[in-house]
Every structure is written in C-alpha cells, then in structure tokens.
Amino acid sequence: MAPRRSTGRSRSTVILLVLTAITLLTLSGRGFGPLDSARSVVSSAVSPVGDAARWVFGPFSDAWNAAFDHGDLVQRNDELAQENDRLRGELIEGTVATQQLQELLQLVGIPFVGDTPVVHTRVISGSVGNFGDTIELDKGSTSGVVKGMPVITGRGLIGRVKLVGEDRCTVELITGGSFRVGFLVIGTSAVGVAEGFGRPTILRGTNIDVAQTVSDGQIAVTAGLRGSSFPPNIPIGTVQSVRSDESSRQTIVDISMFASTRDLTYADVVLWTPVG
C-alpha cells in the first residue's frame, strides 16, 4: 500500500504545483501588480551581483565573446569597411538628407521628443535567460523612471520600461514583440499598430485602413493617440514594404527601424506617462 500512497501524494503535489503555476500565469496575464513589484525588488537585490560579475569577469567575458563571435566580427568588420567607404561618398548627400529629414519633421510639427525631459542612461546588461528581448539600464526610480515610460536612442524608439528598481530599470525592446505601439505614417492619415516579430531591426505594422495610401520610404512615428502608452512623434522607422490584405481590409507594412536594438551602449528614458 505504501508505494500507492506515495504515488498518490506525488501526483497531488505535482497537480498542486501545476495549478499554482497556472494561477500565477493567469494573474500575470491580467497585469497583477504585486508580481511586477516582486520582480522589481528581486531585480534591485540581485543587480549588485551582476555588477560585481561584470567587474570581475568583464575582460574574460569580452575575450569569450570575441572568440565565439570571431567569424561574425570579421564579417561585420568587412561590412563596416564597405559601409565606411560608401558613407564617405555619401557624406555630403547624407548631411543634406539629414537636414531634409529635420526640416520635414519640423514642417509637419514633429520635434524629436519635443520638450519632454529625458534621463540619459547606460546599458548595463542584456537579458537574463534566453527568451525575451530586454536590456537593463543604470537609472531607476530615484531618477524619475516609472514603469511604461518610452525608451529611445538618438535615432528613435527602442522599447519601454518594464521593471523599475531604485537605481536601475529593465526595458523590454520593441523588437521582442511583447507589446505594440500605435504609429502614424507622416504625410498621410494612416495609423496602425506596430510590433516586433523576432527580427532585430524590422517591425510589422498592421491595422492600417486599406483606403489609406502608404508607400515605401515614408516615415512612421508614434501616433500618441489618446490613451496610448507613448507620446506622439517619436520616430520609429521607414516603411519598407507595403501589402494589402483584402480579406481583413487592412494594409500591412514592414517598418525598418531607425534605431538598432543590438549592441546598445546608451539609451534615454523619456519621462512621459500616459494621460487619460
């Protein structure tokens, strides 16, 4: 009888744990606040360990990464050399284009983030584990950072603050696909919803009314509609490809991001919280 009782107890223990995990998943899906608070507390508590690790193992870690990414680095070096040559040739043209972009943004009343204050931060680590596109920044609630604030680089939107500790915060990158951002295509009244789908520089924009004409090369910025998690007019990227889905009456676009979410060193947290 003993083994049967033991098996029964094992089964009930495992079932209890499974039900607990499912309950936690459900609470998490419904945005249960204490779970995020617990994560913030743990993140703050554990981060000194990460800092110490980076200090101690930083040089070894760099050597390790260089060893394993050697092929990539060589290829990337070649690409950069080619790109450098190309950019030298296009420098003047690029300067003109940048001026044109700025003029265009001003013309349609789009100051980059405008007067909204930002907190300059340094990226101190990537994500823990192997899933979930996140980075950790070296500023937190003491600098005014609040959950949900947009995070940008000098070139555009990269993500939003997910967890906040006292002196650091975790940012979920837009390319990870864990959240959506409403966007507006400049020069049109086309609005849609952009989200990542696992590619480092491309977002997918959906829900654009098929009646709106959108074409390659047009600039997408955050729409900042009422209730949006993002302020208006943060540059996102340029429309790369456009196709229509007649069955769902929507236009779908790929957006090539201005900002890259790879190899980030610095980022700015926009001190903006949604209104309404």
Partner: protein, 169 residues
C-alpha cells in the same frame, strides 16, 4: 528541515551562478541555464516528484528575474525536473552518458515547453529558428553541467545510493 535549507542554498547559488557566470559567458547570445540544471539534476537524483518541486521553485526564481509571463518558468522547469526524474527512473543502469542523455532530453523538454506555452499565451518571438539553437545549446550545456550538479544535489538531499549502501553493509 536540513534538506530544505540545503536546497534553498542551492537555489540561491543558482541565482548567483546565473547572474555571475552564465549570463556573462554566452555562445551566440545563448546562456546556460543554472535553474534548469538544478531542476533536472534533482529529478535525476531524487526522482520525478522532487524534480518537479525543485523545478517549480527554480522556475519561480527565474520568473522573478525575467519579464516573460510570470509562472511560465515555474511550469516549464517543473516539467523538466519531472521528465528528468521519470526518465532516470526507467533506466536500469545509470551510466554517466545515460544521465547526460536524460538531462539533454529533460532540459530540451523544458525549453520547448517554455517556448510553446509562451507562444500559446501570446508572447511573440518565442518560436522560430532561434528556438532550435537555444534548445540544442541549453540542453547540451545542461547535459554537461548535470554531472557535477548531481553530486551537490545528492549532498543537499542526503541521498544515499542504495547499491552502494548494500555493498557496504
């Protein structure tokens, strides 16, 4: 009580190892998973039930460190620990390579479960070519790390090998 305290120490050690070591030394941006190693090693040494319990606890701690849906790690590592225990339970003679194979399969099951369930509940970017690489590398590293971890888990669980005990008696 002593066993519980020892396992808590192991879980804390896993946190330090993950942050201190594994996250710093990645291959192709993929890190070994200390929590998964602990879950699988416990399953292998102590059986499916213990593996599931420690897997659940390790997964909960993992969930506190990441931004993926809370509970996903707990459920997935529970599966990995239980699978590790179940597979080891059906093995008659546990050679080292068999333990490594069991660890590989159990951790692969955990990673795949994590990605599939995450994808099912709406987390984007979990399934793709990346998943194959993550599964192989994480399962591979777990199969290597499970051997030293097995010894530590034996210490924590005050495990005594029945065969060895019989020989010494």
């Amino acid at each position: 009580m002593r066993t519980v305290i020892r396992f808590i120490m192991l879980l804390l050690t896993a946190v330090v190892l993950q942050r201190f070591l594994f996250d710093q030394f990645r291959i192709g941006d993929i890190a070994a998973d200390a929590f998964l190693v602990l879950a699988v090693a416990t399953g292998v040494v102590c059986g499916a039930r213990q593996g599931a319990i420690i897997g659940f606890c390790a997964g909960l701690i993992f969930d506190l460190l990441v931004v993926t849906p809370f509970g996903l790690g707990a459920l997935s590592y529970l599966v990995a620990g239980a699978v590790g225990g179940l597979l080891e339970g059906v093995v008659v003679h546990s050679a080292r390579w068999i333990t490594m194979l069991v660890a590989f399969i159990a951790s692969a099951a955990g990673v795949l479960f994590f990605a599939l369930l995450g994808s099912l509940i709406g987390t984007a970017g979990m399934i793709g070519g990346h998943l194959v690489t993550v599964t192989i590398l994480v399962a591979g590293s777990t199969s290597v790390l499970v051997l030293p971890t097995r010894r530590v888990v034996k210490w924590a669980s005050s495990y005594s090998d029945p065969l060895r005990a019989a020989v010494h008696s």
